[in-house]
Each structure stands twice: as structure tokens, then as C-alpha cells.
Assembly symmetry: C2
Homo-oligomer: 117 residues x 2
């Protein structure tokens, strides 16, 4: 991944509305949601939602698919994982032991999915 693309991705995630939106789509993966439902769930105006959907789509973090007169949006989870790898892959200049210590210091294991009950 190029730095420029990574910056675009982080920019896309650096608005409260967009972060809520993306996480909503992550929770609803892989089914996705149509724009109207998203607007209702997040209590955002249609116009404003469209603006943020466009930003996320431009970054590549979500995809859209026509569904009758609706548009269904889905989170592009592999790209999110690539971004995470971009951030972490050169950690400690390839000193795995040091990095493992950091991981233990983190409250949550990032790669393990939670139980959800």
C-alpha cells in the first residue's frame, strides 16, 4: 500500500459520522445496508449521508450495488485489513519479540474476534 492511499483511508475514517457509518457497515457485513436505512440508523440527513458515503467509496472502504431503486452499501473489509497491515508491518524493525510485548500490553487482542455473548 502506498502512503498516499493510506492517508486517504485514514482521512476517510477521521470524521465521527463516517467512522460510525463504516463501523455500522462492518457490523452488518457481509449483508450490507441500503442508504435509507443507514440514514435512519445514524440520524443523518440524506444529503449529508451521501457526502460521507461518497468519501468512503472514493477511498475504497465501501462498495455500492444497485438493488432496485435502492443502493446497498458494504464495508470492504479486506482493504481495512490491508490498512492495518500497512500500519503494523514494519513495527520494531522486524523485532517480533519486542512487538509481542506491546501486543500483550494492549487490552484487546486485535486479531481475535470477540465473543458477543
Amino acid at each position: 500500500m502506498k502512503t498516499k492511499h493510506a492517508v486517504t483511508l485514514f482521512e476517510a475514517l477521521s470524521s465521527g459520522t463516517r467512522l460510525d457509518l463504516f463501523r455500522l457497515l462492518i457490523r452488518h457485513a457481509p449483508a450490507g445496508l441500503v442508504a435509507g436505512d443507514i440514514a435512519r440508523l445514524l440520524n443523518v440527513s440524506a444529503s449529508n449521508l451521501s457526502f460521507h458515503l461518497k468519501a468512503l467509496a472514493h477511498a475504497g472502504l465501501i462498495t455500492m450495488e444497485k438493488e432496485g431503486k435502492f443502493l446497498r452499501y458494504r464495508a470492504e473489509i479486506p482493504l481495512m485489513l490491508d490498512l492495518i497491515a500497512y500500519l503494523t508491518s514494519e513495527c520494531c524493525s522486524g523485532n517480533p519479540a519486542q512487538c509481542s510485548n506491546y501486543r500483550e500490553a494492549s487490552r484487546v487482542e486485535p486479531a481475535v474476534l470477540p465473543d458477543h455473548g
Copy 2:
């Protein structure tokens, strides 16, 4: 992690200069780097670097420590890992099988450190 804090963290990473800076500190973990060295390595003016260091420190992504007349900066890697967990923890509403498929679709395993030779 609260949404507001996560937004602050993504904002902190959504500038080319700051992303380069943070990744530089990640590569140089756990030793860190002093400000002058960072300025030289990234070819950024001292004033501008200070601005971005402050933004990253305010977000909590880096820490600073006095070292004689220098200031040494270090990446706060556990916080980065918490941010990653925040983004991924509710993926697919706790459907691990689905998420595993996504992870296989990603080129790099995010939680496994690369070989580096």
C-alpha cells in the same frame, strides 16, 4: 475506546507528514528518535514537525521524554493496537467464520509480524 477518541486517532494519522512520522517511530520502536533526527529524516521544518508531533502526542499516539537538551519521541504501540481492535472487534456482528474469510482475502495477515528476511 470511545468513538471520539478513535476519531482523534484517525485524524492524527490522516496527514502524510504525520503518517510518515508515526510509521518512522514505529520502525524505530522501542528506542524512539529525538526531534532533530526526525526533522532530518523526514525533511520537514522544525516548526512544522513540532506542530505534527504535538498533534500525535495530543492523540496519545506518541510520548515524549526529555533527554538532555533533546526530546525523544516514541510510538505508543499499545494504543495503536487498541485502535485496530476498535475498528475490527464488532466485525460481522460476531460471526467469526465470515470474518476469517475476509482475513484470507487480505494479502497480509495483520496480526502476524512479517519476516523481514
